[in-house]
Symmetry: D2
Subunit: 350 residues, 4 copies
C-alpha cells in the first residue's frame, strides 16, 4: 500500500527523531519550562522578527486553537470562521465546550472574505447576541487553498475596523510558506496576525505546535489556560527539542525543505490528474490535492493506494471529491507508481 | 404611543394578576414544590392527555431551552436548529455555554425540513465531529410561521430515523394553537415532541413557562439541572398560580381566548397592510406580522406607533422588513388608529 | 400551621404587590431596560452614595452570584469562600458550572477571616493551581451571624494585599443592616465591597435582587453575562417597580422597616429558647435563629409549627440544631403561640 | 547536579525509545486507531484479565482524569476526593472546567476513608446540592502512600452502598504494584475499580497513559469526549508502541522492573534520612520519599542535588517537608552521593 491519506501517518522526520534520541538521557525542567523549550522560543522570535511575542510549545493543533481562543475571549464573545474550518467541523465542539460560539460563514474556496465578516455582524444586535470578537482562519485552509498577502491585509483591515482579533491556525503553515504562489513570509504572518501557530505535527514532528502570541489580549496567564484545558505536556522539552531541529538554519532549515518537498510532490500528483482532464475541488497548490475522480478510477486506485474519499458532488453519482496528501516521506517511487496506475486505468478505458 | 412592539410590554393579564393577589398572603413550599405548582402540573398532564409526562414550572424561555437541552444531551451531542432560531440568534450563546454546539441550517420560511436534517448529518463523520442528537424547532417560529401537522409528523419520522430527540420551543405555542390554519391540537404536539414548553411570558403571564418532558431522556434529576443553570425561582408558586388561572376551563380557558384575541388582532393588522399592496417577510397568520414597508410610511407611523424595524431587504434601499406584534392587551382602538394612520399616509401619497 | 421555615414562604409584602398592580397595564421597555428599572438603579446609587456604580435588576440570588463572579474572573481564577457559603453548598454547583473553582475554607461562626485567606493561598503555587482572585462572603452569613465593620475592613485590607476582589452576597443584607449590633451602614458596604447585592426575595419582594458593581472588573458587558447565564427577565420592570417601592423614603423606607420587624420578631424567638436554657448554633441576632433543641421538644413543636431540622450535633443523639426564620409577615400571634407551646412542653417535662 | 526532583525529568527509558525508532518510518492509522494501539489494548486486557474492559491510549494524566470523570457524570454530579488529590490541587481546575464540582475531604496519610465518604454525603440534601457520584483516589497517593487491599475493598463496599463509581488515578500505579508492602495485583485493581489508568509518563514513557474502563458508565463515545477535551494525539500510535514495549513479557516486563528499580532506590534514600533520625511526612515506601529536614541540611544538599521543598511544618521554622523522587534513571552513584553528602553534613554538625 502506498500512502497519500494524510501528512501524519508516519512517525517523525529522521533528523527530528535523532535529536530526541541524542538528548534523551538528560535531566531537565518539565512542562516546557526547560532550556530546549526556551531555545526554541527564542529561535522563533528571531525568525519572525518579533522580540515582543510570547511563544509557547504546544502539544497539538486542537489544544492550540482552543487555548488561544479561550485565552483572549470573554465568555459572551464569539469566533467568526469559515464553515469548513477545522475548529468548526473537526474538533468535536472543543471550542464551544469552552463556552464560545463559532459563527460559521459559507466560505469561498475555503476562505473567509471581509464581506463575510460584515455579514456575520448583521446577526449581532445587543445583549441577546454573542459579540463577534475573533476571526479564525487557516493558512493553508482545510482545502489546501491559500490567502494571498493582499487578502490577509484586507482581513486585517476589516478586523481593525470591527475591533476583532485575527487568529491564524497554522497547522499547515509550512506548506503555505513554501507554496509556488506564496507572496508572503512568516514575518508577514506575524505582522498581520494577533496570534498564530506554526504546525509541527503535519510537518515532520512526532507531535507539537508552536503558538505565537502577538497581541496582549492572549498573553497573560496563558500557561494556566493550557493546564486547565488538558494541554500541558509533562516532558514538554520534547516539543522544544524538535522545533529547534526543525527551525535552525534559517532559510536552509528543515522547516522549509520539508515544505518544498511536500509541495513539489503534490504538484506532481496534481499534474497526473490534470493530465487526464480531472477537475479539482479547490485551488490548492500545496500538499493537499482534491481531484474529482470517476468512481471506477477510485476503485482501481484503492487496490494499491490509501487516500480519502472526501465528499460527494451534488447531483453527480459517477464521481467523488478525493484527497491526496503528500508528506515528508513521500517518495519519487510513490508518485511514479500513482502515475502508472492512473495511466493503466486510462488505457483500460480507451 | 400605541404599542405593537412585542407581546410582553405590559404586565400580566388582569385575571392572572388577580390570582396572584388573592393567594399572596398564604405560606407555601418554595422552589415550585408547592400545592399550586402541583395543581398546574396535573392540569397540564390532563390537558395533553399524558399522565406519564413530567411537567415543571419554569422561570423563562431561555432557561427552559437551555435546561431541557442540557438535561438530555451528553457533552459531545449537538442541536440542529434553523439559523433563525431563538436559541441560535437571541440567547447570547446560552446553549453553547453549556458546551453543546448548535448546528444552524438555513431555514425555509423560518422552518426546518427533513432534507435540512439530512444535510446537517453530512457534516457528521466520527469522533472528530459532534453528534447531531436533538432537533429544536419553534411553534410558531420566530417569523410567526407554523409547521402543519403533516410537517411535524415528517420531522418526527426523520428524527426517529436518525435517532434524534425532537424539542419544540413553545414560547408562542398558544398563538400557534389558535391560528386560523392550525390543523393540530396540543395533544398532537405532546404526541410528536419528546419535550416542549407552553409559553406564558408572551401569553399574558407576568413570567413563567411550563415545560413538558415526554421522553425519559429529559426526566431524571431535571430540577438539579434547573438549579445549576440559575433557573430555579424561590417563590416558585407564582408560576403555578398563573398557569392554573391560564389553563383552567379547558376549551374556554384564558389560554385559548388570549390566543384567539391576539391572532384576530394580528389578522386585522395584516389586512391593513395587505390592502395597500404590501409584501410580507413570512407566511405568518399568528400574532406577529412582518410587512415590508416603504421607509416614508415607517417614518410616518413611528410618530404614534412603536414597532420593530426588523431587517433590511437585500438590494432595496427604499423599504424595510418591519414587525408588528399583538398581545392580550391590544385593543380595537389600537387597530383602528393604525388603519387610520396608514390610510392618511396613502392619501398624502395619492 | 405557623410558619418559621423561611423568609420566602409568602408572596410579596402587600405594599410591594400594590405597586405591581398599579403599574400593570402600562407598556414599557423589556429586559430591565425600562423607566422603572432606571429609577430603581438611580435610587440605589443615591442610597449608597456611589454615582460611579453600575446597578442591575436581577432575577434571583443564585443567578446574581453566578453572573457577578463570572463577569469578573478569567477562566483559571477561583473563589475563596467559607465552606458554609450558599454558593458552595446550596447552588448545585452553578458557579463551578461556569468553570470557576470555589476553594472552601472551614469558617468560624460562618465567617471567613484574613488568616483563612492566607491559608487558602498556601495551596496556590503556579500554573498547575487555580489563582484565588475573589473572596465571596455573605452578610448576614448563612448562619445569621454578621461581620462587624472592623472585620469587613480587615478582609478588605487582606484582599488589597492579595490583589483579590471582594464580593458580598447580600441575600439578607436588609436583616444585617437593621440588626441590633450592626455597626455599619449600606454606604460602608459599598465602600468596602467591589460588588454586592441587595436581596429582595428574602426581604418582601415577589422576586428580584439588585446587584451593585463598584469595581470596573465587573462592569463591561454585564448584561451579556446575565443573558448567557439564563438570568434575564423578559418583563424585567417588575423588579424595578418592587425595588422603588422597597427603597423609597430613605430611613423610613419599607426596606428598613421590614428588617427591623423581622429582627425584632427573631429576637423574641431567640429569648423564648434562651429562657429555657438552650444553646445556639451561631451568634445570630438577625432573622434566623438556630436553637439546639431536645428532640422531644422538636416533636412537640412540629405539631403546630413549620421549621427546619438543620443539622445533627456530633456525638449527641438527643438534640438537633434547628432553624427558626422570621419574615415580613411574622405576627405577634405567631410568636406568642410559639412561646406558649414551648412553655407547655416545659411544664409537661417538670 | 543530581536529580531527585521528579520521575519525569529525563526522556524515555532507552528500551522504550528504541521501539519508537524502529517503527518510525511505517505508515499507520492515526489518533490511536492503528495496529500498535490495538495490540497495546489487547495486551492490557489480558494482563488485567478483563476482556470486557475498554482500553484507550491517552496523552497524559490530567486529560485522562478529566475525560474519564466527564465521560461518566451528568452535569450536576460531583467527585469526592482527598483534598491532597492531584485533580483537586494540581490540575488548575481542569475537572471543574467541565462543570463538575470536586468535594475535597481532609485525608489521612493522603488517603480517603469510608467515613470521609459518609461525611461528604452529609452536605448532600436535594436539588440545591450536587450529587456525589464518583470517588477518585490515587494509588499511590500524591504522598507516596498506598491503600491496602482491605482498604480498597472497604472503599468499594462504601461506593456500592452509596451508588458511587470508583476511579483510580494510577499515575504511579507501577510504583504501587511493586512496593514492598503491596498486597494487591493489577487484577485486584481491575476488579475493584470502575475505571483506572496505568501511568506511563512517570514510569519511563516519553508520554502516555493507558486508561481502563470497566463500568459501562464510562464507555460509550469515550473517544468523542477525548477529542472534545483536547486530548487526542494525531500520531497516537506512539503511545501504543511504548505501552507494548513496557508491558510485554508479563512478570518479567519492563513495567515491573522499572517499578522495582525505583522503589529499591527510594528505600535507600529513605534509610539515609531515617538513619540520621529524620521524621517523614507520609508512610510512603514507594518512589517518593518525604523527609522532614533541617533547613541547614536542605541548604547543604541543594548545592549538588535537585529536590522539592514541599511544604512548611506548622509551628516550626527550622524544618521543611522535602520530597525526593527516584526514577528509572536513578543510579547507585546518585544514591551513594546523597548518602555521602548527608554524612558530611552530619559530621560537620557533630
Amino acid at each position: 500500500m502506498i500512502y497519500f491519506k494524510s501528512d501524519y501517518t508516519q512517525g517523525a522526520h529522521p533528523q527530528i527523531l535523532k535529536a530526541l534520541v541524542e538528548t534523551n538521557s538528560e535531566h531537565t525542567g518539565t512542562h516546557t519550562l526547560d532550556k530546549y523549550s526556551d531555545q526554541a522560543e527564542a529561535l522563533i522570535k528571531e525568525l519572525i522578527g518579533r522580540p515582543d511575542a510570547d511563544v509557547h510549545m504546544m502539544i497539538g493543533g486542537t489544544p492550540t486553537n482552543v487555548c488561544t481562543i479561550a485565552a483572549a475571549l470573554r465568555p459572551y464573545e464569539a469566533v467568526v470562521a469559515p464553515r469548513s474550518a477545522h475548529i468548526y467541523t473537526h474538533e468535536c465542539g472543543a471550542v464551544e465546550k469552552t463556552g464560545h460560539k463559532i459563527i460559521p460563514m459559507d466560505p469561498v474556496d475555503g476562505k473567509i472574505t471581509p464581506e463575510l465578516i460584515d455579514k456575520a455582524w448583521i446577526e449581532y444586535e445587543d445583549d441577546h447576541t454573542v459579540l463577534p470578537r475573533l476571526l479564525s482562519i487557516s493558512q493553508t485552509t482545510e482545502l489546501g487553498s491559500m490567502y494571498s498577502l493582499a487578502e490577509l491585509k484586507a482581513l486585517r483591515a476589516k478586523c481593525d475596523e470591527r475591533d476583532m482579533l485575527l487568529y491564524i491556525d497554522g497547522a499547515r503553515l509550512g506548506a503555505a510558506l513554501t507554496a509556488p504562489e506564496a507572496d508572503f513570509t512568516i514575518k508577514d504572518i506575524a505582522d498581520i496576525a494577533d496570534a498564530f501557530y506554526i504546525g509541527g505535527t503535519k510537518h515532520g514532528l512526532l507531535l507539537g505546535e508552536a503558538v505565537v502570541l502577538i497581541h496582549d489580549a492572549f498573553k497573560p496567564y496563558y500557561r494556566w489556560i493550557v493546564k486547565q484545558n488538558n494541554a500541558m505536556l509533562a516532558k514538554g522539552r520534547i516539543i522544544g527539542i524538535q522545533f529547534i531541529e526543525l527551525l535552525k538554519g534559517g532559510d536552509d532549515s528543515l522547516f522549509y525543505s520539508i515544505g518544498h518537498h511536500m509541495n513539489a510532490a503534490a504538484l506532481k500528483v496534481h499534474k497526473i490528474f490534470e493530465n487526464i482532464g480531472c477537475n479539482f475541488y479547490s485551488s490548492s497548490h500545496t500538499n493537499q490535492v482534491f481531484p474529482i475522480l470517476n468512481k471506477d478510477l477510485i476503485t482501481h486506485l484503492q487496490k494499491d493506494f490509501d487516500f480519502y474519499e472526501w465528499a460527494p458532488v451534488e447531483g453527480r453519482d459517477d464521481v467523488m471529491v478525493t484527497r491526496f496528501v503528500t508528506g515528508f516521506g513521500t517518495t519519487t517511487d510513490d508518485i511514479e507508481a500513482l502515475a502508472k496506475a492512473v495511466a493503466d486505468f486510462e488505457k483500460g478505458q480507451a
